[in-house]
Amino acid sequence: MKQFIRLGILSLLLLALNPACTQLDEPLYDQISTDQFFTTQTEFDQIIGPLYTNLYGLGSHGGFFSMQEISSDEVAIPNRGGDWGDDVWVRAHQHYYNAYDQPVSNAWSFLYSGILACNRILDLLDKSNQQGHIPNTELYTQNRAEARALRALYYYWLLDFFGNVPIITDYDTGNTIPTNTPRAQVFDFVEQELLAVSPLINKNITQANYGRMHYYAVQMLLAKLYLNAEVYAGTPRWNDALDACNTIINAGLYALEADYFANFKVQNQTSHEFILAVPFDAKAAPGFNLAQMTLHYSAQATYNLQQQPWNGYCSLQEFYEKYDSNDVRINNFLVGPQYEADGITPLLDSNFDDPDGPQVVYTPEINAFTMNCYRQAGVRIGKYEFEKGAGPDMSNDMPVFRFSDVLLMKAEILWRLSPSSTEALDLVNTVRKRAFEPDEDLPSLNAQTLLDERGRELFYEGVRRQDLIRFGVYGAPTEFMPGSDPCKEIMPIPAGHLNLSNLQQNPCY
């Protein structure tokens, strides 16, 4: 026993004398301490990057993008026999959407998920900064601006789509129950946000920030916001819109691709037209499944697809016929007889129901909309390249903002400021020259030619509904749309979100 006590005292003494114990700044290998993070852009990317994954929701069926397209005159899903019998898509095209429609609710959730994620990251950045954990102030300011710009993009979409929406900018909302902000004030909010971040956000356009918000994407948003200012807030802002367009054009960073379809190839990330694109990837970033959405069931054999397509989305005859036959952009559509992957064997539909026989022939004419639509009816959305042997998800990137839109916007603004503007006409013809060989320039501009040109150039890019509203023809009757009230220009606030909060429903729902 004595021995143990002696040993104990000895070891205590040794411990007390051990000099190593005073040196406590040991390097950590399995953790990153707060003062070691937020030093490089790569580390900021790890925080900001995940915010963009919500945008993958743009590519798939059933939400915001679907409603944008199908409520316009360029895309519809007719009832094809027993398939697509869920009347919501017929109603969406005919502007009979209501607050209980799932796609409307999906759109709301998609947009607010994006906003709330930005709020969370902004909160994290601000708290880290307040606690002195962000050594690099410049990067902090720049990345903070980027998250705000992305949030402004979602608010711009909400402004456009739902109009009177709650504005939430805090992460910790406590027990506050959101209330609507009138559309004109949402407009002011988006404008203020964009103007605030514009001088702070990253201005260098490199491969490193592809698919991310930057200065020119902010200018594009401002241009879109001002272009539609009369719709959103009652007062036109043509000159402000023009300034924003000029900022993008004069920077000289963007140019039209020689080939229109270079923008929609599988490997389209090198396009010089993309101001903002969603960088889809079949494996890592799935969600873009246009091939599934639009192609005929049998077209699985044309592209050797891993899954059978759904035979849903198509365009309408009236819209298709806005294209001249020698306009290269008419290849935005798949039309006529279809073949298997070898290009020779006719593509057959064993369950065909149309008078011209079993071969699949996409026809511009849709024989019926709510019942008895032939399986092959309607030209299909063929502007994106469909990769052979692909699964349901595509690797093509999806442009959100494209340079030819800027040129057409500028043309429209100049025309609105002065209907005889030759510069406006030249800009439209610049975009047209790419599509025609030999050139087929427009001799003059009017509202119809401008709207049609935008339609032809920007088909299935999510701008048509907004354009129709701005030109005052959203509610005008088309092929299968009987005409609608102006109040249908904004969507109903989803019932599920009204029930549990203080929100007021939009008029006419």
């Binding site: 919500n54 026999g81 027993g82 909302t173 909060s501």
Partner: protein, 386 residues
């Protein structure tokens, strides 16, 4: 006679339900690479508590004939409140669309009876015993915690993105199958639905409509099990019958594949006794797809024979038996399996994956397309004792 009352908390299904959780989402793009990222998948709810279960039982136990007949009768009421339900919440103000809430209250009221009669007949040749179990419950959704009526159990693709089978209503039984009522088929093949509120139009498209009604109940009124054991000389027989009565099932296969819809191929249709070749119309959920699914099932039957041996023999006992499981089902239900569906496993997306990871407990009564035939089992056995 006995009576009991008790209250307890329930063990939650997993830890951490009250916390904000981050989950992996798809990869984000960064300078040519796709890197994994996280997003909020569940909102925090620091006020979350355990579920509470309050049970009240009143029972009567009887024993007669030297204990050969025993019977027990129970009336019970089980109330589960503060139910932990992953609830869809509005965004904003919530970060994610999902929060665990103590919402809802369910009340199970019912009776069960158990009669066990040993040696009903007992002679040297014949011995017969029987057990009977009967139970019936009514599950009432007292309060779901959000405004009702609401829909659940979405029918799903193809053709039904947004319509549901089950009407969820406060102060109503769980598992109300809901829809239109067919009146007949028009000469042009369209289906005529009944104008229940007599306003000269049939409101088909609104989820909740005055022309729709509760078509059936997904939960049974009565369930039963009978076990009989019979010995006759060297033969023995055991038969177990089980049944459920009073429940209905929405027959998902028929909803999707029975009607000849206009302009739809003539192949691959289900032709049950309800098939009507005059119909050329799109399917809406109506009474014809909600079938009564009463059934009585021969769950197990075994017949055995016991050989006789001298007491000095090596083998003391040898019994040969044959039997089977699930050999017979008596039911008018046209689907593969009339069994009660206590929960709904949901619809499938186009890749065949279920949309929802966790079963929907609010939606008993849907026979989904994922159903497959239950196997019948036959067996032959030898039992020996040394």
């Amino acid at each position: 006679m006995r009576a009991s009352w008790g209250q307890s908390g329930m063990q939650p299904i997993s830890d951490g339900l009250s916390r904000e959780t981050l989950g992996p989402n798809v990869h984000y793009y960064s300078d040519g690479n796709y890197l994994p990222g996280l997003t909020v998948v569940n909102n925090a709810n620091p006020n979350l508590r355990a579920e509470r279960n309050t049970a009240l039982n009143i029972g009567l136990d009887v024993q007669l004939f030297h204990g050969n007949l025993s019977a027990s009768l129970n009336w019970f009421q089980h109330t589960n409140d503060r139910l932990l339900i992953p609830t869809q919440v509005p965004q904003p103000p919530n970060q994610a669309g999902n929060t665990w809430l103590n919402t809802g209250e369910l009340r199970n009221t019912g009776m069960d009876a158990q009669i066990s009669w040993n040696h009903i007949v007992n002679t040297s040749q014949l011995d017969w015993s029987a057990d009977l179990v009967l139970w019936g419950t009514n599950t009432q959704l007292v309060n779901i915690g959000w405004s009702t009526p609401d829909f659940t159990a979405y029918i799903g693709s193809p053709g039904f993105c947004c319509a549901g089978y089950i009407l969820v209503e406060n102060d109503a039984p769980l598992g109300q199958l809901y829809g239109l009522v067919q009146a007949g088929v028009n000469p042009d093949g369209t289906i005529q639905y009944k104008d229940l509120n007599k306003d000269q139009t049939v409101d088909i498209y609104n989820a909740v409509s005055p022309d729709k009604q509760v078509l059936g109940q997904g939960t049974p009124k009565l369930e039963m099990g009978i076990n009989q054991t019979l010995r006759y000389g060297r033969w023995d027989l055991n038969v177990f019958l089980r049944g459920a009565f009073g429940h209905s099932l929405a027959h998902d296969n028929r909803v999707h594949y029975e009607n000849l819809e206009p302009d739809f191929g003539l192949y691959n249709h289900i032709k049950t006794s309800y098939f009507n070749s005059r119909i050329r119309d799109y399917t809406q959920i109506s009474d014809v797809f909600v079938e009564k699914a009463n059934f009585l099932r021969l769950d197990n039957a075994t017949l055995g024979y016991r050989f006789a041996f001298k007491e000095t023999a090596r083998i003391q006992m040898l019994r040969l038996y044959v039997g089977g499981q699930n050999m017979l089902v008596f039911s008018k239900y046209t689907g593969m399996d009339p069994e009660v569906r206590w929960q709904d496993n949901g619809t499938f997306d186009n890749g065949g994956r279920p949309y929802s990871a966790s079963p929907n407990l609010l939606a008993p009564g849907v026979d989904r397309r994922g159903t497959y035939y239950l196997s019948k089992t036959y067996f032959l056995g030898v039992q020996a004792g040394f």
